[in-house]
Amino acid sequence: MIRLSMLQLRVQAITAAVALIAFAVLLAATGPHLASLYAASGLRGCQPASCGQRASSFLKQVNSTGPYAPVDLLSIIIIALTPAVTGLFWGAPLLARELETGTFALAWSQSVTRARWLAVKLTVGGLAAIAVTEALSLLFAWWAAPLGRAAALGGGGSGVGMNQFNPLAFVTHGITPLGYAAFAFTLGVTAGALIRRTVPAMAVTLAIFAAVQIAMPLWIRPNLFPASHTTVAINFNDSTLDLYKTGSPHTFTFTLATDGSVAGQPGAWIRSSGAADAAGHPVSTVVPSACSPAASSSGPGPALANCLTSRGIRIAVTYQPASRYWPLQWAETGIYLVLSLALAGYCFRRLSRLS
């Protein structure tokens, strides 16, 4: 039965192997030079005071020279799409094509019970989908390791040095890709069992998988663990901080980028930021009258920042510390694996009614 599954997956397996090799060649061709740039940047063993500076200039160099930024982006796109592709082309046809073409009658009249048939098919196909996705992710992790280290040293921002919690980075590194692969595959199989036609099952698989992948970073991942809270001083020179003033009387707004810095928490995931006093209680965002002269000058400048600071106003930050990275990876992967098992269980329950 294992051999039959492999025989039927032959075309898909060859396609996947070719894609995997092409990806490996691309990364192998550019990876060593990226590592040598990192070695030349002096980031290894840098003094804490100079690390941030060196990391920024290293990332700036990588961003602007060579093929690194496009390769980085391409890899992210490939790894993010691979689970959907395996779900569509391996998962959805698994039952739907047998039902559509009538070959289920051939498959299920051999001397193998259909429960065993499905168990082997799900295992072989699911493990193959997981293996391909995770292999891509591991190759990319090896390639992007210098970028990750530089980002963790505080040189982060956008592009190649994105924070590890950036949704694009989070879904392409670590163990989450294998959870997505398992989920997309079983989702495809289930859609095929319910719809019984390959192409509509593929469409439904794509729609549901996309919806889940959008819902996850927006509403679920941030709430998997209670966020931490702290207040930080207004640092006008921080490039990740935006200070706006609007309206009349003037009000001000802080916006700290997702991958902004929290003192003592490099690599944290900023969820929200706002004005607060030293104790962390929210304060009015109307510019205090004492600061009006500073605010009325053109644009929110350092004068306004200094004045707000002198009035005891700080930035309240809600964030997930960097140490939550792996707990979040495990929790999210666990959710997807549980969903996959539930879908697989449903397929088994439905199996006797499929023909």
Partner: protein
Amino acid sequence: MNAAIQASGLGKQYRRAWALRDCTLAIPEGRVAGLVGPNGAGKTTLLRLAAGMLTPTLGTITVLGERPAAGPAQLAQVGFVAQDTPIYSRLTVADHLRLGAWLNPGWDDHLARHRISQLALNPKQRAGSLSGGQRAQLALTLALAKRPGLLILDEPVASLDPLARREFLQGLMEAVAGQGLSVLLSSHLVADLERVCDYLVVLVASRVRLAGEVSDLLASHHRLSGLRRDPGTLPAGQEIITESHTDKQSNLLVRTDGPVLDPAWAVQPVSLEDLVLAYMTRAADDGPASPQRLKVAS
């Protein structure tokens, strides 16, 4: 003698509609049994229930003494060729033999290869490019080479041209003779069944209207014609299956175990086709109020 297939009160419901209802049937082992009936009688449902493709909504069915698809051992005992003889169009002929060998502990590789070479099929050819007749032969080869005790074939020759049909049935008969297995096949062509079957089941609107050895059935049915008379005057033991009358003449098809002695009748033997049509007609005339339209295929 054991029953190859035994069904009792068997019913299968799809959503609201019953595809088969209250079907009771026993087919002895070692027969080549033909299943005939109008479209919608429940033939395919009955065969799929017997092959374990479906589970009954009501009643019971046992195949060679066990519930269909009860486990690998039971599945190994039953060869099934579904309607339209499905095969994997992307796999080659050789791939099909390989999957048969992998999935069936009793696989007879010699038999499979012998049949394929006899049929002059190219093992490297994709099954999707085979002709209808070759497809059917490949499906039959898969079902035979697992060495089943019972072979179930659902309209295996329906889509074949007359030559391919004859070759298929010939191959089937050779295999039956060689392997001594029981066969149940459905067809809407009585002529096909006449050539191969020694047992006949007529199914109309889920109900078994007639079942028995073909030779017994032919011996016990007669076509009577003579001057017009009241059918009520027939002796006891002569059951009228169909009757038609003109002003002067009566034509009857009767069932009787004894000989017809009345010299007023001209007695003629019946053909299997006559017999099947007679029982279908009778079922349509006096059967239970049924929405099924009787459509006798030619």
